[in-house]
Amino acid sequence: MGDNGKTERVLEGSEAVALAIKACRPGVISTYPISPQTHIVEALARMVVNGELESEYVRVESEFSAASVLAGASAAGSRSYTASTSQGLLLMTEVIYASAGMRLPFVITGVNRAVSAPISIQPDHQDAMSLRDSGIIQIYVESSQEAYDTHIAAFKIAEDPRIALPVMVCMDGWILTHSYERVRLVEQEEVDRFLPPFKPIHFLDVNDPKSWGPIADEDLYMEFRYAIHDAMQMGKKRIKEIFSEWADISGRDHGGLIEAYRTKDAEIVLIAMGSVAGTAKDAVDHLRTGGKKVGLIKIRCYRPFPYEDILKAIQDAKVVAVMEASFSMGSEGAIGLDLKAKLYGRSKTPVVIDMIAGLGGRVITRGTIYKIVEQVEKACESGAVPFEPYWMDLKPEVLP
């Protein structure tokens, strides 16, 4: 694939996201600062002030309001955007559920960060997982380049009339938002061709008054919920098409709903989401050189859950180690729960072992991943699949 004469720059991840958003020409941007998301909206503010971006920039007094402004702007027919993280995403929760129900197609950057208490400003996926069941589409990225490309695709996915749902692009805080990487940008004309102006299905209009999602009790509520699920399931094909359409324009292909990395003939398959996938790929390469048949599935689109693609990629695996950067208290990690549910009752399924790793930003190195592989090999040899997930690098000696 060629690079079609694209501009190449070294950018902070946040700046790359802001440039992607600028290229999408949002009519409304609502913002409320919270680390590690703030650099994105600061960069957008600079663009608006300098006259590089024509957009209604609304600084609100809380994330609840930031999400409410998005819902209103989107209902009024404007392409709209915000970014948040951690407690901020939790404060948006009520509005996100309502917006998905009202089928309002805005885009949020969900900068991943741990949730209190205690306070950790370091990355994990617990904040986005709190929105797992809301009806928002979630796409996780590995690099700043993927963040740039995915945000542009996200608006097209959200605004597709067959999907019509909000989309959250999830990127690990600090690791991606504050590190500098080489990022290739795409010309504005190309983005405009890929992403035409937003055409809302319904919009607020004084000459044709409407209400959004007023009431549907026991007689119709269930059908509205089913319609969201159906849009997600049917949308899988469309999301893949949009990704590949952008890949053709940008000359960069990050994969479909998942990226299967060296999974062909792999006996041990790791599953990961977000920036840790880069570390895991290096670890896989090293282990492969040592003769171990290891592969990686990077989940890009987490909601809708791409179980069809995952099952295909793990059909010959003996064991699957799911790396979870979040935890459902009193149960286990969310990805493992999803995957095991879809494997239930099938013939010849691999063993699935849940690996809780990186909560509160606990560093995951290649060494952590070698340990994970050792751990699952041991479990397989002994034939005892643990009911409880492993907590990687836990310090039992400091527990109260």
């Binding site: 309002l104 007689d219 509205f224 319609a227």
Partner: protein, 85 residues
């Protein structure tokens, strides 16, 4: 009737939603006792009791069965009957 994407409804269409389905008790007027004073019409929070050709009648399509009319009726002419669905 098809549901609209996102539950979007046009203005002036609330009559299409028959809230009478919410009811578990139905007010029945005994016209032998009714004096036609109109208190029931005044207190009805859903505005479903009106004078129709000289008698007060309840629009059961929208009556939610709150029972205010029966409670306020000076001559106890309204009885609330449980409706099994």
């Amino acid at each position: 009737m098809k549901i609209a994407l996102g539950g979007v409804v046009r203005g002036g269409t609330s009559l299409a939603y028959e809230t009478g389905t919410w009811r578990d008790r139905k007010p029945i007027i005994d016209y032998d006792l009714c004096k036609g004073c109109g208190v029931c019409e005044e207190v009805c929070p859903d505005n479903v009791i009106h004078d129709v050709n000289g008698v007060y009648a309840i629009d059961y399509g929208y009556c939610k069965g709150c029972g205010l009319c029966a409670y306020e009726c000076h001559v106890n002419a309204i009885e609330m009957i449980f409706e099994a669905k």
